[in-house]
């Protein structure tokens, strides 16, 4: 059983809890392989996707996961809601609770919003991304993918490449992989890697060729076009030339390296089509595993007695 009623971040999870989620996800992956991809486990429960930031893929993944558990799903995305009319966050949250939500999946541009909801609502809160803080289910599905393909995570060398400073996926992955015993490397320009991250158990590289030596798993992060023109790097082209993954660069890593990406990809910028579609890529499996992992999280939070 998970210790708290919410999944706010990997920071708050112990290694045991992470493994419980991953083992449970394995059981749910079976369900996804059947003809009838549905179980009645959370029948009668209501899940609300409360997305203050646009996202089709993550929202759809949670929606499918909820439906596979027979949960009723409501999608509440900001542009179509009263938040635009000036309703406060607390009022939106209480309204959603009054609608009978058992699970609230929240994505917001401000860090700490899931924690705020957790303090003020009875429902179980699942963080689907809060500002530059965390995106825990992404890290869990990444860990699940690695474990499935490699048999385990301990001792593996994992490199995360890209805009670490602004990436909640990077942060959650750093916490998750280090808790499971992997060796984590960060690769990117100094402007995109915060100084203080060296106080975490990670190794920082600014050169791809150096950083990829002996790497078992490569996680490529999306470079956001909006970062251009703010002084983080001179141009997307220069970024791509220095930190994009190409077949030549990939040769520095282990022969059986896995290439992962949380999506959506900028083909030709941080990753070439050759690699994205190639034999080392597990990017599409990450998507499938995402549903199983999210089912596991929902089951562990809502499929249990809460006093």
């Amino acid at each position: 059983m998970l210790k708290t009623k919410d999944l706010l971040g990997i920071k708050e999870l112990s290694g045991e809890e992470i493994n419980l989620i991953l083992d449970t996800a394995a059981g749910f992956k079976d369900v996804l392989g059947r003809d009838i991809k549905k179980v009645p486990t959370l029948r009668g429960k209501t899940a609300v996707n409360l997305f203050f930031e646009p996202s089709t893929r993550t929202r759809t993944s949670f929606e499918l996961a909820a439906k596979r558990l027979s949960t009723d799903v409501i999608n509440f995305s900001v542009p179509t809601s009263s938040v635009v009319k000036g309703e406060s966050l607390i009022d939106t949250a209480l309204t959603v609770q009054a609608l009978g939500a058992d699970l609230i999946i929240i994505r917001h541009s401000s860090a700490g919003v899931p924690h705020f909801l957790s303090k003020n609502l009875r429902a179980s809160i699942i963080n689907a991304g809060d500002g530059t803080n965390e995106h825990p289910t992404q890290a869990l599905l990444d860990a699940f993918t690695i474990k499935e393909k490699k048999g385990g995570i301990e001792g593996l060398t994992v490199a995360i490449v890209g805009d670490i400073a602004h990436s909640r996926v990077a942060k959650s992955n750093i916490y998750c992989l280090t808790k499971l015993g992997a060796k984590v490397r960060l690769i990117g320009p100094p402007t995109l890697i915060p100084k203080q991250i060296e106080e975490m158990p990670v190794a920082v590289f600014h050169s791809m060729e150096e950083g990829l030596k002996g790497v078992d798993i490569l996680i490529m992060l999306r470079i956001q076009m909006e970062r251009q023109g703010k002084g983080f790097f001179p141009s997307i082209e220069e970024y791509s030339k220095n930190w994009g993954i190409t077949s030549e660069r990939l040769a520095h890593a282990q022969r059986d390296v896995l290439v992962m990406h949380p999506g959506p990809m900028n083909r030709g910028i941080e990753i070439t089509s050759e690699i994205a579609d190639g034999p080392r890529s597990v990017i599409l499996e990450q998507v499938t595993n995402g549903i199983a992992v999210r089912m596991a999280v929902m089951y562990l939070l809502a499929g249990v007695r809460r006093s």
Binding site: S88, G112, N133, K171
Partner: protein
Amino acid sequence: MKILIKNGHIIDPSQGLDGMGDIFIENGKIKEINMKRKAHDAKRKELLKSSVRTIDAGGLFVMPGLIDMHVHLREPGFEYKETIKTGTGAAVHGGFTTVCCMPNTYPVHDNASVTEFIIRRAAEEGSCTVLPIGAITKGQKGEELAEMGTMVKEGCIAFSDDGSPVMNSLIMRRALEYSRTFEVPIISHCEDITLTDGGVVNEGLMSVTLGLKGIPAESEEIMIYRDIALAELTGARLHVAHVSTEGSVQLIRDAKNRGVRVTAETCPHYFSLTEDAVSGYDTNAKVNPPLRTDIDRQAIKEGLRDGTIDVIATDHAPHHADEKLREFDMAPSGISGLETALGLSLGLVHEGVLTLKELIEKMSLRPARILGLDDKGLKVGSVADIVIVDLNREWKVDPGEFVSKGRNTPFNGWILKGMAAVTISKGRIYEQ
């Protein structure tokens, strides 16, 4: 009203007083100070007979009333957060008999009619003396100087654009030069807004872990460096508001050693808390400048101890509960500090960082000197602004009990040792 404070330990370093004695107050002024010497008992009998109200200060310290150089009273314009009435009520509750209110009201206090308004409202409803601080620039926009002369005439004792820095160095230079006409200090909110860049907490491990945008220490230090250089250039009186970092303390220490006319203040939260207080995204710990690291905290204490930092002020910044009950990024910065300041500051005395006399300097005597107030202190003829302090009484911080409308404090639940038992402002008694 004739009041006798008897049996207290009277302590005022500016008057050389440190011993048992009585104080007699008449018509809002100190009439007699009767220290325990030869003719003491006879004199006391005489005073007892004529007093209307006697306060037994046995076991307590009788000190000059505290002066807070940095308070946001929010009136005019933001009365939902605080009013002059509730703010000064909170002040006397915390042991303060004089507060200086910052100009970031609505409208901004950048002209004499707002000065007049504040002084009038304080006379009507204030529990203690209110000395207004006017804006340096019109609208606090940092572009044109406000009419310092007319504001001083109406009652302003200093100028500041607090809440914002004066980013334009030329304007800051002119402001410092011009202020010399009136011999008033310019109180600088030192922050390079471009470096702050929307940050909400200290830039450090905490900001990375929590995913919140960080404000580097350098944002404060760069402006302190600039303002000290301009103060040196112009010969004006610079007072640095809310110092929070080790680097800032060092810059001020060096400037003082060079003989620059700079004074500095810090706030209780900078020597009581670190950036760890923000964990869990507690908006009550969101303040500008932000709470820093433990190294900075120790440097602030050392700066107080060695005299680099002259004053402890509260930067009392009350906000409505609704405003703090939201996304961390969007919540306004500020701590409601008038009612916890003395308790937290006495902690420094209990710790041995400051003696009680030094604390009185930081919280009463030095502010009076910096602001040019000469009718303070425990001497015959002064205004009866006195605080009677129980040094050892333990109490629990409960914002529900605050007189201030602002309940935004990160000290909720803390047990503090020491408090103001009785505050007398202009001869009026305020008891706990």
